[in-house]
Each structure stands twice: as structure tokens, then as C-alpha cells.
């Protein structure tokens, strides 16, 4: 499969390890991934608050760039906020051709035209539905035997646009984790919100959202995240959330492609495990413990 890829601001900054590991994992599975050249910010949660039109023009600019390359090629978004913005604009122009015209009057200054054709899918969707579990399993060199992983989708990965999974109780991750020989820790906060930008604007309220998710993951060795915002918040506010919970939580938060890459035996320079704020050493030592046992 060939894909276009929209990294978004986080994957080029704080979540570089997500970008590296997802690209490497998709390539290991025999796919080609090309980054959309000259992409710009999708507008995040801010643009549509500033202006309606801006909230559509910023995603549309990137979709127009992708259509210029190939309008039939799937675009992968790995950040859930970017994903939701793209789907939202795609859906809005289907319902309202006048909006598409307005968007294009704005894009004129960039010599771009958005046709409303580009198809954006979440990385979660692509990983779960474009590759069979057999294909994934066949690539495993270092099974994650004994590692207990809690899936964590967050909100906009599956809401409000979830053509590929349930928006309340998603099930995309467990088959992948099982194909890596990991043990899945199901919990009832898998599709709960990480607090997103509330952690920037009203920190206390955001921290209690983080605490609830971490509490749900109690018993796991690590979380598997599939959105840069979720990952950052679950790691960065873990100490503050520990105070809310009244117990010290030490849960490494890895990106799903990092776990896949670990199992595929990919190198450290694509996994970048040393970048994590909550050290991943417990995950690695768990795998080392399991390795001789599995061999014996």
C-alpha cells in the first residue's frame, strides 16, 4: 500500500518518536509512506474558535496539497485532533457546496484548489484494517510475551467520526497487541478524554481526567497510545495525577507503533524510547524477564 501522510505539528515536535516509529512500522509491513510536502497546521482546536471559515480553510489547505499529488491516495493522520479537523471539513463541504466555494476563494491566494475528494483515515484505522493480524504476527521477531498493555484511544480517535470502530467501546487495538503476543488489559477508560488543552487553560480539571484514565489502567505495565496529545498528557501530568489518586503512578506511555516496532525488532533510532518522560525501563525489563522463560 502507498499512503500520503500528514504529520501535524506534534509529530514534528514533541512526538517525533511517534512519527519515526509509525513510518518504520508501516514500511516494515511493506507499505510506502510519503509526507505531504509544505503542510501547515490543521488549525487544532483554536482556528474554529477564532473564525468559522479559518477552521475549514486550514485543514483544506493541506487536503488541497494532497489532492495535487494524488486525490485517490489515502492520507494518514496520526494525531486525533488533526484527524477530526480533516473529517469535519470533508463532511462539511459534502453537505454545503457553497462552503467549498468560499474555502476555495480563500485558497486562491495560495494558488490551491480543494476539490473535496481527499480521504483522510486515522492511523488506528489503517493499522487495524489494512493489515491482517497474520501479516503483523509474521513480522514479529521479539514477542512481547508477559507484557500487560492497556489500550488507550482517547476521544477524537473515535469520536465523532468513527467509520472504523465503535465510538464508545472501540476494539481496534487488542487484535494487534495480541498479534505481538502482549497481554491486553481492558478497562473502562479506553475512549475517555485525556484533558487535551484543558490542561493548558484549566489545569486542575484536566489533571482529574488524566487521573481517571491512569486509574483505569492500574494493573497494566504500560499504556498504548495512538494520539500525541493523549500520550503527552498521560506522561506529563502523571505526577500531578498521582497526587489526586493518593498513590504514586508509574506507568510508561508508549505509542502503539513503538510497541509494534519493539516486537518487530526495529532499532533504537526509530523507537526513540529514551525520549519518554516516564522511563520505559520497567517495560524493557519485563520483556527481558520473559525472554529466557519463553525460550525455556
Amino acid at each position: 500500500m502507498r499512503y500520503l501522510f500528514y504529520p501535524g505539528c506534534s509529530l514534528d515536535g514533541s512526538a517525533l518518536e511517534y512519527k519515526r516509529s509509525m513510518t518504520a512500522v508501516l514500511e516494515a509491513l511493506g507499505s510506502e509512506v510519503a509526507e505531504i510536502p509544505e503542510w501547515t497546521c490543521c488549525g487544532a482546536s483554536a482556528a474554529s474558535v477564532v473564525s468559522d471559515l479559518l477552521g475549514h480553510v486550514l485543514p483544506a489547505r493541506n487536503l488541497a496539497l494532497a489532492e495535487q499529488i494524488d486525490e485517490d491516495m489515502t492520507i494518514i493522520a496520526a494525531c486525533s485532533a488533526c484527524y477530526a479537523n480533516f473529517r469535519r471539513t470533508g463532511q462539511a463541504v459534502q453537505a454545503d457546496p457553497a462552503l467549498l466555494e468560499r474555502i476555495n476563494r480563500a485558497l486562491e491566494v495560495e494558488d490551491l484548489t480543494y476539490r473535496g475528494k481527499a480521504q483522510v483515515r486515522h492511523l488506528m484505522d489503517v493499522l487495524a484494517n489494512d493489515f491482517s493480524t497474520e501479516e503483523i504476527e509474521a513480522r514479529v521477531e521479539r514477542p512481547l510475551t508477559g507484557l500487560v498493555v492497556a489500550p488507550y484511544y482517547g476521544c477524537q480517535t473515535v469520536r465523532p467520526f468513527s467509520p472504523y470502530d465503535d465510538d464508545q467501546a472501540p476494539t481496534s487495538m487488542p487484535p494487534i497487541l495480541e498479534a505481538l503476543s502482549a497481554t491486553v488489559h481492558r478497562h473502562n477508560r479506553e475512549a475517555s478524554c485525556c484533558g487535551t488543552s484543558v490542561l493548558m487553560t484549566k489545569q486542575e480539571a484536566g489533571v482529574s481526567m488524566v487521573a481517571e484514565v491512569l486509574d483505569g489502567c492500574d494493573g497494566a505495565d504500560c499504556l498504548a497510545a495512538i494520539c500525541p496529545m493523549c500520550q503527552l498528557n498521560m506522561e506529563g501530568y502523571q505526577d500531578r495525577a498521582s497526587k489526586v489518586l493518593g498513590r504514586q503512578v508509574n506507568l510508561p506511555v508508549l505509542f502503539l507503533p513503538q510497541l509494534m516496532g519493539l516486537a518487530f525488532g526495529l532499532s533504537d533510532d526509530v523507537l526513540m524510547l529514551e525520549r519518554h518522560m516516564v522511563p520505559v525501563t520497567p517495560v524493557l525489563s519485563r520483556l527481558q524477564q520473559a525472554a529466557p522463560a519463553a525460550a525455556g
Binding site: S51, C155, D167, T201, Q203, G206
Partner: protein, 192 residues
């Protein structure tokens, strides 16, 4: 939730066209049957001064000031849980974006701190085309309450140590600036 138990509607200013003016499908708020599913689903409701259910009723009644001055919309994390669960099919999360727009246009006190976040973010997008985390945080703290910055110092330090935050300023600023596009959007918005 500190909303008054009883409110004498004959003694407060009301604008029954409030939800129609909000933009988008704001008028659908009139469908609300006060079932409370939104409040029960909301991860932030405990921190809000007015619960989502109460707020939607106040929107129906046109209690403009009370709604726009409440903290409710600013605590919303856009998780879409209320929107996908509302049995009346009201696009609640999207309507909250319109409430934020309105509060910011009217320059209300409630919007000062959180509004600064959105404005700072938009400034960085406009100038660099992409969001540079470090510059964004600095601008945000300058526009809002600088004391908030202290809450981030610890996390910021750890992030820098791990190479997660970049200190350098973008050099290719001209190349990706969205200045022209932002200006065009503003012109088109003014036309409408």
C-alpha cells in the same frame, strides 16, 4: 455546580433568539429535553459552575450573560461524548465552539484567560504556518496570566531534557507564513 436553584425569569434579561444567532446548528438546542445525558457523560462537569444540561436550558431561555460568563464552555475538552450520546441529536460539542466565538467577540471576562490560549495559538499559526511549542507557550503566558507559567515549569524542564521541546526559533518563516491566507479569510468573513 453553583448555579442558583431558582431563578426568577421575569427579573432577568433574556434574548430568545440567542441560540438561533449562535451559528451552525445552534437552533437545534431547542430540541433539548433536559434528560441530563450530557452532564452524566461529561468528564469535566464536576469542575463546571453550570452543568452542561443546565447550560443548554439557559441557552434555550436566552440567558445570554449567564451562559457566556460561566466557565462551562472553557472547561470543555471537545471530547464529543455529549454530542454522540445526546438522544435529541443536538451537535452539542460544535455548538460549544460557537459559544466560545461569541464570548471572545464580546470580550467577556470569562474568555480572557482561555481566549488568550486560542489567540496565541492562532498567532503562531499565522506567522510560522506550524505551531512551535516553545514560542506558543511563551506567547500564551504573555497574553494570559503569567502566574500560570509556573505550573508548567516542571513539565517544561523535563521535556527539554528529553529533547521534546525545541528552543530554536523557526528560520524558514517566510516560506510557510500563512499571513496572506489569514488576511484573505478575514476579508471573506467581513463580506459575509
Amino acid at each position: 455546580m453553583a448555579a442558583p436553584e431558582v431563578m426568577d425569569l421575569t427579573k432577568v434579561g433574556r434574548d430568545p433568539t440567542f441560540s438561533d444567532r449562535l451559528g451552525g446548528d445552534g437552533k437545534l438546542v431547542h430540541r433539548c429535553i433536559q434528560c441530563g445525558t450530557c452532564t452524566a457523560s461529561c468528564p469535566a462537569s464536576a469542575a463546571m459552575d453550570i452543568s452542561p444540561r443546565q447550560m443548554w436550558r439557559m441557552v434555550q431561555l436566552g440567558l445570554v450573560d449567564e451562559v457566556l460568563e460561566s466557565t462551562t464552555m472553557w472547561l470543555c475538552s471537545l471530547c464529543y461524548q455529549c454530542q454522540v450520546r445526546c438522544p435529541r441529536g443536538i451537535p452539542l460539542t460544535e455548538t460549544i465552539t460557537y459559544l466560545k466565538q461569541t464570548a471572545m467577540k464580546e470580550g467577556l471576562v470569562s474568555s480572557r484567560q482561555s481566549g488568550a490560549f486560542y489567540r496565541a495559538f492562532a498567532d503562531v499559526m499565522r506567522r510560522y504556518g506550524r505551531n512551535r511549542e516553545m514560542e506558543f507557550m511563551v506567547r500564551y503566558f504573555m497574553k494570559g496570566n503569567p502566574l500560570t507559567a509556573f505550573k508548567f515549569v516542571r513539565m517544561g524542564t523535563v521535556m527539554m531534557m528529553r529533547g521534546k521541546v525545541h528552543l530554536e526559533l523557526p528560520v524558514d518563516r517566510e516560506g510557510r507564513s500563512l499571513e496572506k491566507l489569514f488576511r484573505r479569510v478575514a476579508e471573506l468573513e467581513a463580506e459575509a
